[in-house]
Subunit: 330 residues, 2 copies
């Protein structure tokens, strides 16, 4: 019988999902960024839990404050992708022995900072003794049913866009974990992306208001994976014209003879939103994001054929369905 | 500077709470069994997270199915104490290497069984690699604001009652962990209490309907601790006349020359409700619980003096503010 470390995260999730009874008329199917319950009056209660584990999610160089803040941001990012304002966070914490009073205070302050940055509050939680640092947050918010953005509504001909540029986190991790060098300016941007992730909440809320978005996902498992997820949920494909690679990642890739497209496609923990937009409403979507200080970058088009393709100078290539996955370093 | 293992869970919670900004006009203060957000229309969204950690919460003899079910029941019990029907559960899971496909399936089935037993569904979650087995559940439900049962409303003269009898879990743990003996019948009851905890949801919902309850808590940290928690939150005390000790625990205590009162007061993980009831509405409360197949046992009275006292044959003694606490085995 196969062991956890041989299965990979997706297979493990499939096994667990296979053991669960589905709620009749559930508002959001298993596997979307969040779960939701209909609370009447045309509104949904949106809930999400995502767990941070020290040994896999907290790279060297990240403080306790940053780790706790990240544990909150991870959850808020999923609500952002659905157009839901987070109101409350809960934090179930596992603390290994050897942590100090000061470390715990930093964890508390990091949780608070993450929540308050996005207009939410930490309302409660639970503390436990554990071998790893564990910060398992749950986020709660409500939204209008009609403005909730699913993964499943993309239609051929829709435009696909992102709220920012990719490749910074994977490059930043190479600096922090593998000791790769970078100029101070490049280094700062790349490391900052790892240590201080930002959820695109303003952008998500603004996009939800427009009614222009047909599908949306938080790209925390990487750009390639996110495109494949929308592809699966919406039964469509993508033709990507331009990869949105961050300038700092391009410079970093050049300096180390790395492929910038690889960094941008197959990284993870990049909390940009990947959305599909009805073409007639593109201007509205773009303007709404600009109005809140963000940007929406068109990267390609939704296709009927369920494959994810990328135009390159060498021709059109298939984007693989891979990204960050727990248990895969076994 | 003090380390986690020297601080104890209460102090750790205090440090974290001291780092958090409080939500203005929050519906339920920090430290109650659950958190809540006002969703308008006289209703509250009730949310709770409680984490199960293998090495501290899963005794020898407990299967993966039972552990996962327990992780759900722990959370549902807190909603029960507040009179809230759970609708949705989320489960963030940490899996140590070496677990098999079958173990994971058992975890999935245990989660489902715990939720379905109480009319809820598991809607989502997250899986991770961790050193310990971690099952961190979050529960969600809504309730009428006016029927929400706090810890803070007990008034002198109110009656204090429990939905069941205590001491089974602490005795059951002595059987499982220390190998103490018991007759088959006694053993079955005591071990069952540990392996298959039951949340008093029907009782909690029925009590909330009556409007008779002035304060309520889930006794998962033990009877003594629960009384002290209501005492703190309500600024009252208790005079306990009769300790509600389970028959099986009395028999077990006799056989091993243990003090049955100790077993009943200072155990933990007993998911009975401890409630205070307005004396004029006692009959209504008792009848409501009976109607759903439960029982409400009067154990004493609320006093103005903020101390928790127990009448015994040797006179009135103080009940200590101790119970199950993580980090305290250091």
């Amino acid at each position: 019988m196969r062991l956890v470390e041989e299965l990979g995260e997706r297979k493990i999730i499939d096994i667990i999902l296979g053991s669960l009874e589905a709620m009749p008329n559930v508002s959001v199917p298993f596997g979307d960024d969040v779960s939701a319950v209909d609370i009447g009056g045309g509104r949904l209660a949106v809930i999400k839990t995502d767990m941070l584990v020290g040994k896999t999610d907290v790279p060297q160089g990240m403080t306790f404050w940053q780790a706790a803040r990240k544990a909150v941001v991870m959850n808020i990012s999923d609500l952002a992708a659905k157009g839901t304002q987070p109101q409350a966070l809960l934090a179930a914490i596992g603390l290994p022995r050897g942590l100090t009073e000061k470390d715990i205070e930093q964890i508390g302050r990091g949780l608070n900072a993450g929540a308050r940055q996005y207009g939410a509050y930490v309302l409660g939680g639970d503390t436990n003794e554990a071998s790893d640092l564990i910060i398992s947050c749950a986020a709660f918010g409500t939204c209008e049913k009609r403005s909730f953005m699913r993964r499943s509504g993309a239609k051929p001909g829709d435009l696909v866009a992102t709220t920012g540029f990719f490749g910074k986190t994977s490059a930043g991790l190479k600096i922090l974990l593998e000791g790769l060098s970078a100029s101070p300016e490049v280094r700062e941007q790349l490391v900052e992306a790892v240590l201080m992730p930002q959820a695109r909440l303003k952008e998500g809320l603004a996009l939800a208001e427009t009614g222009a978005v047909s599908a949306s996902i938080d790209a925390s498992d990487g750009l390639a994976w996110s495109l494949h997820e929308i592809s699966r949920a919406s039964h469509v494909g993508f033709l990507i014209d331009i990869l949105p690679v961050a300038d700092a990642s391009v410079k970093f890739a050049e300096a180390h003879s790395l492929n910038p497209s690889e960094l941008a496609l197959y990284g993870g923990e990049e909390y940009e939103l990947v959305v599909t937009v009805k073409p007639k409403l593109w201007n509205r979507a773009e303007a709404a994001v600009k109005k809140v200080g963000g940007s929406l970058t068109k990267i390609g088009i939704v296709t009927a054929e369920p494959s994810v393709l990328l135009k390159t100078e060498e021709g059109t290539i298939a984007v693989e369905a891979r990204g960050w996955e727990h248990f895969k370093t076994a």
